[in-house]
Symmetry: C2
């Protein structure tokens, strides 16, 4: 690998362009208003799907596009640490579902009394009902021990695999499929069940398929468990906790608050643009 080291990095300026080719430039890079709205539509209408799955198979071209979406996620040092275990067999699903059941009973015991009784009724996964499960992993060793950009934050490679999962979620939504992320497992037992090597971390276990319907809002939001937090409480300036201290900062907070207000009434991307383009 060290022989290839000189071509490993982004370069300052053009000093070494004779040694390292740089990419061509995107021509016609601008998105139309309709294209931009479609990107926001996928984000605003994406749901974490636990139920409502239909058994129909996912066409190969649809599933391959979703995998391409994942494979074009950003990755630290272009590491591409992700792999995809495609699970369609009932036997595998049932073994994974048994792991979920065990972990979910452990989780229930973390709650007391009524809480535990209620937890036991929850619908937190669609492992068996969804036609396709995908385990997305991160191979911590895929690019050797020293990775550009991972020297100080070791979890950057895990974060790259998470970016791949979010691309899959948005691609699935654009393809009209529901997707849910199941996270109630013993990682060690999931690795054993799926034969995942020690160096590899399972990052997400996904349930994917056509659905009867998608909800218009997150179930927990409508159930009243937690509201969508006010965006103004999540924005600070220059330093944690510093609210708007000048007109420029106040304008951004006002604009974000207005955007959230219209989205609360009307979760369509159009309402993000209505009369407020600059």
């Amino acid at each position: 690998m060290d022989k290839r080291f000189p071509s490993r990095f982004f370069l300052k300026g053009n000093k070494m362009e004779n040694r390292i080719p740089t990419p061509g430039i995107q021509t016609d890079p601008d998105f139309s208003d309709a294209e931009r709205a479609a990107v926001y539509r996928a984000m605003l209408t994406r749901r974490d799907t636990r139920g409502q799955f239909l058994p129909h198979a996912i066409p190969d071209d649809v599933l391959s596009r979703i995998l391409m979406a994942a494979h074009h996620a950003p990755s630290v040092g272009f590491m591409q640490p992700w792999s995809f275990i495609i699970i369609r067999k009932d036997g595998t699903k049932r073994r994974v579902h048994d792991l979920f059941k065990t972990a979910n009973e452990e989780a229930a015991r973390m709650f007391d009394g009524e809480a535990r009784e209620i937890y036991s009724r929850l619908k937190l996964e669609g492992i068996i009902e969804s036609p396709v499960n995908i385990c997305v992993t991160c191979d911590r060793d895929r690019a050797g021990p020293v990775v550009v950009g991972r020297t100080h934050i070791k979890s950057m490679d895990l974060y790259s695999s998470v970016c791949a999962v979010q691309n899959m979620w948005l691609a699935a939504r654009a393809e009209g499929l529901g997707m849910g992320w199941v996270s109630i497992f013993s990682q060690a037992k999931l690795k054993k069940t799926l034969g995942i090597p020690n160096r590899v971390t399972p990052v997400a276990y996904l349930c994917l398929g056509q659905v009867e319907h998608l909800y218009s809002k997150p179930e927990l939001e409508v159930a009243g468990w937690r509201p969508r937090l006010p965006i103004e409480d999540l924005i600070s300036f220059e330093r944690w906790g510093n609210g708007a201290a000048n007109d420029e900062q106040a304008r951004l907070v006002d604009r974000a608050r207005a955007a959230q207000a219209v989205l609360n009434d009307d979760s369509t991307p159009a309402c993000l643009f209505g009369g407020r383009r600059e």
Copy 2:
């Protein structure tokens, strides 16, 4: 919080709908071919931008839409653990850039000889040149100690904040902005510099702005450091490392390989659909 516990969860079936309201259903949920292609276009043309930034301010409505994209990311237990520190002042940028410089010198010392000499020439951040920096954080305590879905995988809340970052990246691309993720910092020093409390983890430090141009492919790919890995090497079936063992599995691998081949020649979403819709 326990008083609200009964409304905290997804429910199996309708047993408790009398106690817990469920959301309305998305009407007209299907994406048109053009909308779906726009979602893939954002993913395929997104770049990790370190240079080429222009100093122009980002309009408030654009930045507020990007923050809305983040705030509509999936989060474990609807925790919404993210916050956003918006940095536009030169003084703050320079303090953060100093942290980068220190960490980058430490990173360089992890390499020897020619490698270290080359590393020192790399362009790995656009902190000063980009008009807006955003630190995206994760408040590990935002929803109390026991979070549904985080009981067994503690990093699920960090992953939620990463999903928010990926939404921001795709929204920025759709808005015609470049975005880069800077990860070469001491987390402890970054927290001190930005006044981030102990319970909160800085997940991503982002540089955002208009750019002269976006590259057509990742710089590291074109530089020959690492190729885009062959998708067929990343897919297994039912168990880690199991290649296609039946026609259904082989068809998916063939389809994914074909999709990657056309993308290598032509990174436009149209080529994902050309003549291969089912």
